[in-house]
């Protein structure tokens, strides 16, 4: 995790964030008890969140989890039912959108079709009544950063999806807003371009030191991009942490299920082990109290095939290039394991033994 005092690498002439960040508080955005109700339905349920200066935080969650609502409340496109939004130490809860000093990269970019790329990028500066020479210089600079200096006088419709994405990004970078919000910005791109843009965003984030909140429903994207991930579910934060924490130490079953692939084996605790339909499974460390209901969560990569304390029938194998995913039916329980692609001799329909080292699995108690 980088914090504000770290030197920010800037390539050539980019954005003077380092000077600004020296006297800005470490907390860029503070959200307190933010709630949004639509009639009877709760879109956002009293969420508290702090975003640090210069970090890239993803809001991750399934659709309807409240991530887009949270984003809209932060940028002021919606009014919260209760709670406060504090940006740079100033209460901005009821400030109008155009007075908040935030930048938004919209889902389908929302580039102005009647303006050139340069006019699009310069729009915010024009609204701030900057002199034309300054606008031109800053626009050229921003387009340089995203590698589109040559396209300044084109119209957005003449650009490819990836290029439009860069223009949308440049349009935010150019006026150096306190926070840049990105609402599923890569959703419209194909897989290859998506990955390239992820790397691009990481580079631009590193070079500019901008504070970015990135909304996505794609956990791979969140893992790849983020300094921290805020996983949302049912209008609440399910867990907040670094990608590694989210993957290795999920705090509840929703997180374990949502991030990465895992086999979730339910049961009841008896004498430091979990009694389940496929047998009594060991729990690492000090076991929870007897009678606790919960589940063992096992990642595919820690499961060993061919030996172990469980047995099941191979239902399906899925070839994935570098690995072979093996889906095993142990009674009614589904187990997902992974074998090296070269192994190749896992026959569908055959019985196979499997297991894992107890300390590589996690026990998570049911909620409530």
């Amino acid at each position: 995790m980088r914090n504000a005092s770290d030197p920010i690498t800037t390539k050539g002439t980019t954005f003077d964030m380092s000077a600004a960040s020296a006297n800005t508080p470490e907390i860029k955005l503070q959200v307190n008890g933010l709630a949004k109700l639509y009639g009877q339905t709760t879109a956002l349920d009293h969420v508290d969140l702090e975003v640090r200066t210069g970090e890239l935080l993803t809001l991750l969650g399934p659709s309807g989890s409240g991530k887009t609502t949270l984003l809209q409340l932060i940028c002021g496109l919606q009014e919260p039912t209760s709670g406060t939004v504090i940006i740079d130490g100033k209460d901005q809860t009821h400030a109008p959108v155009n007075k908040r000093d935030i930048g938004v990269v919209f889902q389908n970019y929302a580039l102005f079709p009647h303006m050139t790329v340069a006019e699009n990028v310069g729009f915010a500066l024009k609204m701030r009544r900057l002199p034309k020479a300054v606008i031109d210089a800053k626009v050229a600079n921003a387009l340089e950063t995203v590698g589109l200096a040559h396209a300044a006088s084109r119209s957005p419709s003449q650009l490819s999806g990836g290029q439009q994405q860069r223009v949308a990004l440049a349009r935010c970078l150019v006026y150096d807003p306190a926070i840049i919000l990105m609402d599923e910005p890569l959703g419209a791109l194909d897989a290859k371009l998506r990955e390239a843009m992820q790397i691009e965003i990481k580079r631009i984030h590193r070079e500019t030191g901008a504070t970015i909140i990135f909304v996505t429903h794609d956990q791979q994207e969140a893992l790849a991009l983020s300094d921290r991930i805020c996983l949302m579910n049912d209008g609440k934060i399910a867990q907040l942490g670094t990608p590694r924490q989210m993957y290795d130490e999920p705090q509840n079953l929703f997180v374990a299920d949502f991030i990465g692939i895992s086999s979730i084996i339910r049961g009841t605790v008896r004498a430091g082990a979990l009694e389940t339909a496929i047998g009594t499974l060991p729990i690492a460390g000090e076991g929870p109290a007897d009678g606790t209901k919960g589940a063992i969560v096992v990642r595919p990569e820690v499961i060993t095939l061919g030996e172990g304390f469980c047995e099941g029938r191979v239902r399906e194998t899925v070839y994935g290039g570098s690995e072979l995913r093996v889906i095993i039916d142990a009674g009614k329980q589904e187990i997902i394991a992974r074998a090296p692609a070269q192994a190749g001799d896992v026959a569908v329909g055959s019985m196979v033994r499997f297991g894992w080292a107890p300390d590589t699995a996690r026990f998570l108690a049911d909620k409530g």
């Binding site: 155009n98 908040r100 938004v104 919209f106 102005f112 009647h114 915010a124 609204m127």
Partner: protein, 578 residues
């Protein structure tokens, strides 16, 4: 897979060859009943009938007599003024509609669509009563302390008001689609970048809505050039326009050569207007698939200057007054306009049920006598029956011809498609009165004048554009792979059409038929010439009565028409696919 896709391209190629010929009946129809007659009418205006030599006497006569030049100037000025009023008043209404959530907009649209489908004749007739010397508007104004001897009718003001009122729904309906196609996130995007509400409206919404405004401007102006109903009903002799001149020349003086010369003039002016428009805005804006082209040059410079001024002024005003006040002023304006649009339609029933022997609003007593007069008059009943028959046949014929053409056009990838589309729009571009006079000229030669057949032929022609557009939209939105899917599942050609195509296009076809029917039911201009005073349609009967002597029978007939129009139009709108 390879086999399948090969078959796919094969069938598409076969269809391409197949489908374009389906537009032929419609094109032949256009050629025989529009291009040929108009051409003949224009031709004979240049030819001395006895010797057959080129002869420009009528043109010399036309341009040397000051009255024609004055009428031409009148026509231009009135049309331009009406266009400006329609755009200025219609734009806020369209903005209001565009800003609504979809469901509420569907409801609010009825407030514009109903006046749209009530003919100008009826709407203007209502204003004759409402704006009369001792009428309700004059009384209200007098009550507010204005002059007691108010002459609201029979002047330039009344003509502009009446014409703008008649055309405003069209202006709104033309501007709306462009506004709806503007990406809803652009305004929030502009605001996150620091633009105020009025800044983002002027800099983003206004420029992007301009293609629609330009298209509406063209439509209103071109239609205004051939419009004669309002100047005739609400104007004084000083507001005489070309259309009225043509009626006089053709119907009273039987001077077809001068009539033809006037038609030539009108057509030339219309085509020049369209050419100029195309030069500056491009025709794509009219057909509605413009990708907001950037414009340089004069128009662009004027446009951006206007936008800067608008943004500055509205920001300035917004800084003086609270936002809520501005919104209230806007809403009040919208509802006043909507009320003015709807009032004449709602005013008919009270006038018709009046017991008085002259038309008055509001009525002082209640009776059914005028309905009895209407229902017992052979003349009125005959006209009503004729209009009904003519309208139904027109609807059927127009739907069949346009349906074939729309199917053919929807399935072709040929470059000729655009040209064919324009051909079917011709009856909308050529002023109705030119169509009327040229049909009068040609049909008289083959004995079809003053026949129901003649009227049907003319009505089918002028109903074609709207019927065609609805059917084309229907066929374009149809997913043709469904037929291929049905084919792979074992349906033969006829079964594919009967079980898949027809059920899915039914709504569009019904709407097209009903709109064609409605168009014919309310059409006046062509019936005026082709009916030749012998075969009276309902609108023609009304026109004669309004010109000769206004009686409450007219109101009774109007109630009948409005009822028919409302019912059919509600059915059609419900059936129409979106």
């Amino acid at each position: 897979m390879a086999e399948l896709s090969a078959k796919d391209t094969f069938s598409r190629k076969r269809l391409r060859a197949d489908s374009l010929w389906l537009t032929m009946p419609g094109l032949v129809y256009m050629a025989l009943l529009l291009i040929l007659p108009a051409g003949a009418l224009i031709w004979q205006s240049f030819i001395e009938p006895k010797s057959g030599a080129l002869d420009l006497t009528v043109y010399r006569q036309m341009f040397s007599a000051g009255v024609y030049v004055k009428v031409l100037a009148n026509t231009f000025a009135i049309s331009a003024q009406v266009t400006i009023v329609c755009l200025l008043v219609g734009y806020p209404i369209a903005v209001w509609l565009a800003g609504m959530p979809e469901r509420r907009r569907r409801m609010a649209m009825w407030l514009v669509l109903l006046p749209f489908w009530v003919s100008p004749l009826l709407k203007n007739f209502a204003w004759i009563v409402l704006l009369a010397r001792k009428g309700i508007v004059a009384q209200m104004l007098t009550g507010m302390g204005f002059d007691t001897q108010l002459d609201l009718l029979y002047g330039r003001g009344a003509v502009i008001f009446g014409m703008a009122h008649a055309m405003l729904p069209l202006a709104i309906l033309t501007m709306l689609p462009t506004m709806l196609s503007i990406d809803g996130r652009l305004i929030p995007a502009a605001m996150t970048m620091g633009a105020s509400r009025s800044q983002s409206f002027w800099r983003i919404f206004v420029p992007l809505s301009m293609p629609g405004v330009a298209a509406a401007g063209l439509l209103i102006f071109v239609m205004g050039l051939g419009f004669f109903i309002t100047p005739a009903l609400l104007g004084s002799p000083r507001e005489t326009v070309i259309g009225q001149m043509m009626i006089t020349q053709v119907q009273q003086l039987f001077n077809l050569r001068l009539g033809g010369a006037l038609a030539t003039l009108l057509l030339a002016v219309t085509l020049i207007t369209i050419a100029v428009y195309d030069r500056f805005f491009g025709m794509s804006a009219v057909s509605g698939n413009s990708a907001a082209a950037r414009r340089g040059g004069v128009i662009g410079a004027i446009g951006s200057a206007l936008i800067e001024i608008g943004a500055f002024v509205s920001d300035f005003i917004a800084s003086l007054f609270p936002a809520r006040l501005g919104r209230r002023v806007f809403t009040t304006f919208v509802w006043i306009v909507i009320a003015i649009l709807i009032v004449p339609v709602l005013a008919f029933p009270p006038m018709a049920f009046s017991g008085s022997s002259f038309l008055e609003f509001p009525p002082k007593s209640f009776s059914l006598r005028w309905f009895q007069t209407y229902l017992s008059s052979d003349q009125w009943m005959g006209a009503t029956a004729r209009s009904a028959v003519v309208a139904i046949v027109t609807g059927v014929v127009a739907t069949i011809i346009s349906g074939m053409a729309a199917y053919g056009l929807a399935r072709t990838q040929s470059k000729a498609g655009g040209l064919i589309f324009l051909s079917f729009m011709l009856p909308m571009i050529v002023p109705n009165i030119v169509i009327g006079v040229s049909l009068f000229y040609v049909l008289a030669k083959i004995g079809l004048i003053a026949t129901n057949t003649g009227i049907i032929l003319g009505h089918t022609l002028s109903a074609m554009p709207i019927v065609f557009v609805i059917l084309l939209t229907t066929f374009r939105s149809f997913d043709w792979r469904l037929l291929q899917a049905a084919g792979t599942l074992g349906a033969n050609g006829w079964q594919q059409i009967r079980l898949v195509l027809l059920p899915l296009i039914k709504g569009g076809a019904i709407a097209a038929f009903l709109f064609g029917l409605l168009h014919s039911f309310e059409e006046l201009t062509i019936a005026l010439f082709v009916g030749a005073g012998v075969k009276q349609t309902l609108p023609k009967q009304m026109w004669d009565d309004i010109i000769l002597s206004i009686s409450p029978t007219l109101a009774a007939a109007s109630v009948f028409i409005v009822a028919v129009v409302t019912v059919l139009f509600v059915i059609a709108e419900k059936a129409r696919p979106r």
